[in-house]
Amino acid sequence: MKRYGVFLIIAVSLALTACRLLPGHSTAQETDVVFALGTREGFSSPLQAALKPAGPALEFEGSSFVLTGVHRKMLDALIADWSREKPRYLLAGYTPPGLPDDYARSLSERRAQAVRQYLIENKIEAAYLQTVGFGFDSSLNSPSSSVVVIFRQ
């Protein structure tokens, strides 16, 4: 009888562990906190002025909007520099032609938001960041147009 009790405890523990792995059952710690955008006042658009990129563009594969290790490495360098002058950054997403237009805008905005989220989580203040998704409404002089470009304001 005691042996059955031990088996029961193990079975219940395994079942609970499996439940945690099911999609949609993430714990509070795993849930991302989404930071709402602050005012856009004072930010310039690359459509209006010749803005200088703060570093190389972050390239994305296919229709992914997930940051890779390469992206994080590039952003970490930016984060390290930020605290010295605290510049403001506009994160502008672009896609190549060939996608449905509206999807291209949303995907490019979503990528820019992913970059913003990472920067905020790594201590860049939210008020210093703005995003925009151009899709392929605005052409970019770049070898790849499936990118997020970080423009220093």
Partner: protein, 388 residues
């Protein structure tokens, strides 16, 4: 049999004729309504009658005959102004209306559409408009034309361009995304007054505006919350409610004809799929959000047909984008046009789709499968939307 003159061959009873075509023609002639256009009086009466016959012949919504017609239209025309009266077989008056626009052509198009609505119960296309984006002028701007690609006019002239247009139901206003300030904001242009107003100027991006059937609300994508979401904005109160609840990349919202649901595409990490969200009537109303299984793993630009029995959308078929129509809420899907055709939009009568393919604007007749390039060589045409 071959020696029988065509007139005799055609006079055989329907049940004696062989082949699908003969059968369907016999069936359609039995159901097709007949209309007589009686002589119009007045100085421009003759021109009016001739012009109306041209409009109705092009529309092909019913048979024009003077022999025992189901409906008769008569009237008068003086100086381009047209008055018309429609009666049925029993002599009951169904319509009596005067058209006083500046030009005879404009009046005849409006009369043709009204007549088609009275006879068939479905709207005509003579006065309907298609809005689209073209880079003809050097930057992306909104243009508009009729269902035949005629009456082409540039609607916007904004610096840095305008995209993502949507016409309201009566064709009196266009919502679109403008880059005038360098950032995407949604604006509404009153076509009658020429007055523009900004609906959303929120941080992040705003795009994909779509008028509700009653014209009082807009569905629009905004990202000020920290990720893109679909919002429904009330144009009278300027309030907005989020209906999408996603952390993905939602886009291209479009209304159900009853105004109670919105279909949109959302990429939650595995490519864009189609979702349908209820539009809550009040804050307390429970709103459902479901994924609609279209059968394709990459879908965008969905739009309900006017009768809400089908949905047209862009899908990836093989390596190419294609226009697909699937029965709503369930049923079979059919590829209407492959090879890079995108952004389908229904005609008001639900018989045609317009879409763009490699920069050309097409109108596709769904029953016959024939299509016409209505605009070609007018820049790179994208994002067409037909007035509902």
């Amino acid at each position: 049999m071959l020696l029988i003159p065509p007139v005799h061959a055609l006079s055989l009873p329907a049940w004696l004729r062989f082949g699908k075509d003969a059968k369907s023609k016999a069936a359609s002639s039995m159901t097709q309504k007949t209309v007589a256009v009686v002589a119009f009086t007045g100085g421009t009466g003759e021109s009016a009658q001739r012009g109306l016959l041209v409009e109705l012949t092009a529309a092909s919504e019913f048979r024009l005959t003077n022999e025992n017609p189901d409906f008769s239209v008569s009237g008068s025309s003086v100086g381009g102004r047209v008055t018309a009266r429609v009666v049925n077989r029993e002599g009951k008056e169904l319509m009596d209306r005067t058209y006083a626009a500046p030009g005879l052509d404009e009046n005849l198009k409006a009369l043709a559409d009204d007549l088609i609505l009275v006879v068939t119960g479905k709207p005509g296309l003579a006065t309907s408009r298609i809005v689209f984006v073209s880079n003809k002028s050097g930057s992306k701007q909104i243009f508009m034309c009729d269902a035949n690609g005629k009456d082409l006019q540039q609607v916007t002239h904004h610096p840095h361009g305008c995209v993502s247009p949507s016409l309201n139901a009566d064709g009196s206003a266009i919502a679109f995304t403008s880059y005038r300030s360098g950032f995407p904001v949604v604006q509404v242009l009153d076509l009658g007054l020429g007055y523009e107003r900004t609906v959303t100027d929120t941080p992040g991006s705003s795009f994909g505006a779509s008028f509700s059937p009653d014209g009082n609300r807009l569905a629009v994508v905004m990202s000020f919350l920290g990720n893109p979401e679909i919002f429904v904005t009330d144009l009278n109160s300027n309030s907005a409610a989020c209906i999408s609840d996603t952390t993905g990349a939602p886009c291209s919202p479009s209304w159900h004809p009853d105004g109670k649901q919105i279909i949109f595409a959302d990429d939650r990490g595995t490519g864009p799929r189609l979702y349908v969200a209820d539009v809550p009537a009040t804050n307390e109303t429970e709103a459902k959000l479901i994924r609609w299984r279209s059968g394709y793993s990459f879908c965008a630009d969905p739009e309900f047909s006017p009768e809400a029995d089908r949905v047209a959308f862009t899908a990836k078929v093989g390596n190419d984008l294609a226009v697909v129509v699937k029965s709503w809420p369930s049923g079979s899907a059919r590829v209407i046009q492959a090879g890079g055709a995108v952004h389908p939009s229904w005609s008001p009568n639900g018989r045609y789709l317009c879409y763009s393919q490699h920069g050309t604007l097409y109108v596709h007749h769904l029953n016959s499968g024939t299509r016409t390039a209505i605009l070609n060589g007018q820049g790179q045409i994208t994002e067409p939307r037909w007035m509902k």
